[in-house]
């Protein structure tokens, strides 16, 4: 069902009054497309503005693309964001420092561990305890982050492939991701939104049998990635759709502040894991894959290569975890919360030792527990910025403390948001179909863009 209305009387039209009153508006609400085409041709106008999204299967999540088309060519592309605003940053100002983790992990839901890691590193920097974090906690963080990097890249490839119509890419990608998510479930109890990394360390140690399970899983994941490579790398259809599409060269990337695979596909081997190591990344042996094609195909290849590098890091981290147990939370009991977590009956909760002490032996311990839990720890006044190399680029967190038990402000520099600025640069001048490929190669996740 379609009808031609004037911009003024269009209930679904733009509310910003940036269109003239007499601009004709065509509303497509499903139904007969022939009528719509007839009406559009009757206008004798080649230049049309199309809203792609926010409810469109090919834009990641609720991204709204405002495209000005001249026939099939995109003459202007703008990204409309804000449809998934959750107020997470504001909410975190009203929760203790530890509770904040459960919120920020939900920002970019494809890479929860990186959200937590950047936040916790920033809080630790503000506390000045960065060098007191136990070795084992750092290794577990690296392990989780690299696994999460693989899942994020798999989602990027899977959804990108699906948007181009290749469902096999999607099924393989999500199948391999599932293997890693089951490891996440084994370690943290949740597949996503784990809230596992905490200021001071990680919530609990890995349970028994995890190392064996990871060692079983790595070859399977590697095989799956090889399968994806065989399917994608030299596929003529894929190359036809991606080579020289979404072109953005190095100077363009630098001007727009692009990081991550997009920057590395433009030839610059910039990776915070090497440039500004954190969590002990300087002690791991891995390479930074780059390409110099500056296009969607190069970004895809960079992501595939990075997954192999991540598996290399995972193997090294597992060997270190296998070497022996150790603490996973900072020794300072005024910060360490959950204070005495142990592998209890359900794998989580307070250990029986701890309960015996606070209930039967030490009233002071019980008071400390209540104080630490209800009030939380205090962070000295000041601010700190910590950045991690997320699968999408530089994931930064800026925390400001006024000395209280809650953040004064937490701001995240989410790479999806910054990289999304490249939509205009990569999509303009191409055809409508290439917009999909260009946006897919940026790999924005709207939960991270809007926060």
């Amino acid at each position: 069902m379609t009808d031609t209305t004037q911009a003024q009387s269009d209930p679904y039209g733009a509310t910003t009054h940036d269109v003239d009153e007499d601009t004709p508006v065509l509303n497509a609400v499903g139904g007969d497309w022939d009528e719509l085409v007839d009406e559009a041709t009757a206008l004798h106008e080649e230049r049309i503005v199309v809203n792609m999204g926010p409810q469109h299967p090919s834009t990641h999540g609720v991204l709204r693309l405002i495209l000005e088309l001249d026939g099939e060519t995109v003459t202007e592309a703008r990204a409309g964001i804000g449809y998934l605003h959750t107020g997470i940053e504001k909410n975190m100002e009203f929760r203790t420092w530890t509770q904040g983790v459960t919120f920020c992990t939900r920002m970019d839901y494809v890479m929860p561990i990186f959200n937590e890691a950047s936040y916790c590193l920033a809080v630790e920097k503000a506390l000045g305890i960065t060098d007191q974090i136990p070795e084992r906690a750092q290794t577990i963080r690296v392990l989780m982050m690299e696994f999460n990097r693989i899942t994020s890249h798999l989602v990027a490839l899977a959804t990108g492939g699906m948007e181009m119509g290749a469902t096999t890419v999607m099924t393989i990608g999500f199948r391999e991701r599932e293997r890693i998510l089951s490891i996440f479930e084994m370690i943290t109890g949740l597949r996503m939104n784990n809230a596992y990394i905490r200021p001071g360390g990680v919530a609990t140690d890995i349970p028994a049998g995890t190392i064996d399970k990871i060692r079983e899983t790595i070859p399977l994941v590697r095989k799956g990635i090889h399968e994806l490579e065989a399917l994608l790398n030299e596929n003529p259809i894929l190359k036809g759709r991606t080579v020289d599409v979404g072109y953005l060269d190095l100077s363009g990337c630098m001007a727009l502040g692009i990081t991550g695979p997009m920057l590395r596909a433009a030839g610059l081997p910039h990776d915070l894991r090497k440039a500004e190591p954190y969590c002990g990344y300087e002690t791991y042996d891995f390479d930074i894959p780059t390409r110099d094609t500056c296009d969607a195909y190069g970004r895809l290849r960079v992501r595939i290569d990075e997954m192999h590098e991540s598996l290399k890091i995972v193997e090294q981290a597992v060997d270190r975890l296998d070497a022996g147990p150790g603490p996973v939370m900072v020794a300072d009991k005024k910060i360490a919360w959950p204070a005495q977590l142990a592998v209890g009956s359900d794998g989580q909760g307070n250990s029986l030792d701890h309960i015996r002490e606070i209930m039967g032996e030490s009233m002071e311990s019980l008071i400390h527990h209540f104080k630490l839990v209800t009030e939380g720890f205090r962070v000295p006044p000041g601010q700190a910025y910590a950045a991690v190399e997320s699968p999408k680029g530089e994931m930064g967190c800026h925390v400001v403390s006024d000395g209280g038990t809650r953040p004064y402000r937490v701001h995240f520099r989410d790479p999806s948001f910054n990289n999304l600025q490249a939509v205009a640069a990569t999509a303009e001048g191409g055809s409508v179909a290439d917009v999909i490929v260009a946006v897919a190669s940026i790999d924005p996740v709207m939960g991270g863009v809007d926060r």
Binding site: Q99, D205, Q340, L341, A342, S345, D346, N350, V373
Partner: protein, 194 residues
């Protein structure tokens, strides 16, 4: 043409190969998924352990726990003794339509009254039915997995040996460890390095 034929043959070979292999579909209601013991399906309540201290309700990031309680006075058991007051739990409810499954309530509970259970089959057709009262929460207690061995890598005697051997003064991790008898097994994570 030969390229086309070879491609076709390859495709048919793949079809023939996968035709005989078993489907990976899990027949869900008949075959239950194997979930790890840490899996967060639902929160179970051990009512006897709850002292209505409200810690979980206060710390829940989205305040989905509701607790009502009243005080009861027990008369003194001995002549001239003091009457004692204790809390009685009237209502303990978790609204699973709000719950984020973050597990903070379980971590903060100082009396170990809350547990994770991998049980997940409690979906409803009405969102209001997701508000589960203490009776239902208690029914999930039997589904809580049995305790894992605390140090699975080490046999019991060896683990005991470890604790006895370590001199607390020299150990950097000693600050974290609580007063612990030699008979108790150290937990992974807080365990002393040999």
């Amino acid at each position: 043409m030969t390229k086309f034929l070879s491609g076709l043959a390859k495709g048919m070979a793949t079809t023939a190969r996968t035709m005989t292999t078993h489907a990976h579909t899990q027949q869900y209601p008949h075959v239950k998924p194997e979930l790890p013991s840490r899996s967060r399906g639902v929160i179970a309540l051990l009512e006897e352990n709850c002292t209505s201290c409200m810690l979980c309700a206060r710390e829940c990031p989205d305040w989905c726990i509701y607790i009502d309680s009243h005080k009861e006075t027990t008369p003194p058991t001995t002549e001239g003794g003091r009457a004692r007051q204790h809390n009685v739990l009237d209502r303990f409810a978790i609204d699973f339509s709000l719950c984020m499954y973050c597990g903070i309530c379980i971590e903060v509970c100082p009396f170990d009254a809350l547990f994770w259970s991998p049980e997940f089959e409690y979906s409803t057709t009405d969102i209001r039915d997701l508000l589960q009262e203490k009776e239902t929460l208690g029914q999930w207690m039997p589904t809580v997995p049995a305790p894992e061995p605390l140090v699975p890598e080490l046999p019991q005697t060896e683990a005991q040996q470890l604790v006895v051997d370590v001199e607390p003064e020299d150990d950097p991790a000693a600050g974290r460890t609580t007063k612990r008898g030699a008979g108790e097994v150290p937990r992974p994570g807080t365990e002393e390095q040999p």
